[in-house]
Every structure is written in C-alpha cells, then in structure tokens.
Symmetry: C2
Subunit: 233 residues, 2 copies
DNA sequence: AAATTATTTCTTGCATACAAGGAAAAAATG
DNA sequence: CATTTTTTCCTTGTATGCAAGAAATAATTT
C-alpha cells in the first residue's frame, strides 16, 4: 500500500483490528511479523493512539503480543500453546454441535453456500481466499447454528489456528478440509448431532495432526536450525 | 476507598482489570455501574491513559461497554445476550468434559479443595466470597482438566454470567450449586465423562432457569416498572 | 583487526492538553 | 409557574510531547 487510507474514526471503531484479522486469515500476515505503531498509523492515517488501542484489543484477543519498547508482533505460539488452542476449539465446537437443537433448512443453506465458495476458491486456486474461507467456515458455523458469543470466541480461536498452521507449516490438504466441512453439514442436515460432533472432532484432529511440530517453532528456532551447520565445501 | 493505591505500572499490567473482575465476581460491582476514567485513575493513582487501556481490554473481553462521551459501564446484557452467554458456556463446558482424557487424582484433589472452600464460605455466610468461589469453580475446572486457553475464555464467560445473575435476580440456591459442583467431580473421579457432561449440562440449565428474565432487564426497566403506578393513598 | 565502549536512532510507555459532545444547571421566555 | 433556550460543566476522544530503554551504528581502545 503506497497511499494512506481514509482516517478511521469512532464510527468504524474496529477497522484496524478487522483488517489485521482478515489479513492473518488470508495469509497476508505471518506469525512473528512486526506491526509498528507508527507504520500502522501512517497506513490508516490516524495517530498512534488509535493504533495502540487497536493493538491492545488484539492483544486481549490473543492475536498479537507486545515486547516492551521493541514493538508489537503477531503471535508465534509455542507447541504447547498451539495444542491448547486447538484442544479448546475441539471442546467448543464439538460441544456446540452436541448441545444443539434442530438445524433449520435455511441454516443448512447458508452453510452449503459457504462450502460452495470454498470450492470455488479451490477451483480458482485463490490461495488467500481459500485460507480465509476455510478458517471462516468455523466462525460461520458458530454464528449460524450457535450464537454471536460463540461466533466471536471462534473468530479469535480460528485466527490463532490459521497463524499456528502457518508457523508449523501445516500439510493439511485444502480439498480434504473442504470435503470434511461438507460432511459435517450432511450430518447436521440429517439431524444426526452425534455423527456431526464426531466428524468435527475428527476434522480438528486432522488439522492438528497435519502440523509439523518439529520445525518452525519460531523464527528464532528456524534460524537456529538453518545455521546448525556450514556449507559442504 | 479514601486513599489512592500504589501506582500501577508495567510490572503489573493487568491489576486494574483483575480487580474489576474480582469485584464483579464478588458482587461488589453491579451491572450498569459506571466506571469513570478519572475516578479510577484517582483510585489506582495512575493517569487516565492506563485506566483507559484497561477499560479497552475489559471491553474486548465483554465485561464493560462504552457510551460515547458518557462513560464506561459494566455490561447489562439483554435477555438474548444472557441466553447466548449461558448457551456458549454450556457448549464449552460440556464439550470440555466430553473431549477429555483421564483426570488424575491430583486434579481431583484440587477440585475437591475448591468445593471445600465453597462450603466454608457457605457456612460462614460470606456472600462475597461465596459468589466469587461459585463462579470461579468453573474457571478452576477449565484450568485443571482443560488448559489455559479454556481457562481464560471461561473466566470471561463466568464473569458475565455472574453479572447476568445479578441483573436478573437469580434465585439459584448457593447450596444447590455447590452440591452440583461436588457431583460433577464425583463423576469425573469415576472417569464417567458422559455422566459428568450430563451433570454439567444440567447444572448450567439450572443456572439459567433460576434467572428471572421478566424483571430487572436493566436499570431503566427496573425504574420503569417501579414507576408504573403511584402510591395507594 | 577484534573487542569494547560510546553514541545515535528508533520504538514503545505514559502523561497531558485540548477538542467534541452530552448532561445538567441556569436563565430567559411565554 | 411551566417550558424552552442558553450556558456551564463534565466526560470521553484523539493527538502530541517527552521519557525510558532497546538495538544498531560509530568510535575508541587494545
């Protein structure tokens, strides 16, 4: 971005956060990336104050962290934090489906439409959109068959999961993910909550299993590994 | 409080929020209560900036909300928001127990100890401590048999539930709550996750059922009801 | 030349100043 | 006296200034 955007004011209080979360879900922003207050204040054409407030909100949501007088950084979860996050998602999403009442055809339609969009992004090989949609499916599900509270919690957890997947170089196949989403909807449509819950449990286990917990623990770890040995002269 | 506290600095970054949450859980702070920036800055002996940052974090956590140029207020959830919050808790806590692996005796001991503290507060009729502990049980459970991510989500949800209970004048008996907590631990100890999940589901349904959704929708509603008719002269 | 020290630069931490707007009080008006 | 209008006060919204400290650079020393 070369030109600064319109100033962000109280009428759109969360633009900065929303943009950052969107960018993270789309893979435009990587874990460990530095988000300078001045930098962002120029991009969004506001003072550091508003940027800082946005960063504080993102920090409370577990998306960024601050290092004293060094700057704000997109989270780089440890292996343990990554596990905890995905386990929390499993508990929440499985519980959500299990404690559910009937899913109306209208809701099924919304979900199907979402998966259709996923398929389109896959067909067009639009990686950013694909990443965004695959993550956002879970938010969409929570908002559709659940409620706004569940939706907002899942927004944060999925964003973190996408960052975790980027950090630990997930090998999870996008087609597979999309197919699993579709199967979950099938089970919901058949009003088989038990099966839907089981599929969701499995799906999230796949997501975790696809993570390569060995490499890419952090930029530091990466570097260390890269410098472990010299050139073979 | 007449005397201002020690200044809060970067070494204890969350003191203000922690105190407010503690006060809410203990019933010292009611829904709708105004939390002025200046007021708090005098109490904690810091500038408005730090108070404001704390309020922004609390806002992100769904504990307070801001009305433009009027002030910060402890949330007064609507009936719908109240339902959504409790349903989210049900999904999360039931799912957490259901997707669980074995609970060690050490963890059982921690939970038993917590219930014991609840019983003591009940015996001593210490209402603030009672309220705090009954709410905190769920956080403790999430941290013990779950993980920190689950714990922090549940911290916020239970705080909101306690505020909801205050707003809608919950008639839920504290003894009953405590007994139900104990039963849940029994089931966990017996490694009967299904039963534990069922008990938790039931427990949270009781919590919701005890709410009086008619009255006390908000201070405004309360007032309106109170002024509906004049004195019988 | 290598290692150490000093300096400069850049970033956040925090306080403060002032603007914008809502609420209450005071004044004016019918 | 009741009602409207004006004014004042008070609260948050936002920008800015300066301090504290980390990192990078330059200078010095050995």
């Amino acid at each position: 971005m070369t030109k600064s955007l319109e100033p962000v004011s109280q009428h759109q209080p969360n633009v900065i956060e929303d943009r950052i979360i969107y960018a993270a879900l789309s893979g435009y922003i990587a874990p460990g990336e530095r988000l300078g207050e001045k930098e962002l204040s120029e991009i969004f054409n506001v003072s550091r104050t508003l940027v800082r407030e946005a960063m504080i909100r993102l920090q409370a949501r577990g998306i960024v962290e601050v290092m004293s007088r060094r700057g704000w950084f997109v989270i780089e979860p440890t292996v343990e934090e990554a596990r905890d996050t995905i386990n929390a998602r499993r508990a929440l999403e499985v519980g959500m489906i299990a404690t559910l009442d009937k899913v109306t055809p209208e809701k099924i339609a919304i979900l199907r439409q979402h998966v259709q969009a996923e398929e389109q992004a896959l067909a067009e090989d639009d990686r950013a959109r694909r990443s965004y949609l695959l993550g956002h499916f879970h938010v969409c599900l929570a908002e559709t068959i659940g409620n706004p509270v569940l939706g907002s919690i899942l927004q944060d957890l999925t964003t973190r999961t996408v960052l975790i997947a980027a950090l630990y170089q997930s090998t999870h196949d996008a087609h597979e993910s999309c197919a699993e989403h579709s199967q979950i909807i099938d089970a919901l449509e058949a009003n088989d909550a038990t099966e839907a819950a089981r599929l969701m449990d499995e799906h999230l286990r796949h997501v975790e299993k696809a993570l390569n917990y060995r490499e890419g623990a952090s930029r530091m770890e990466n570097l260390k590994a890269a410098l472990r040995t010299g050139p073979a002269l």
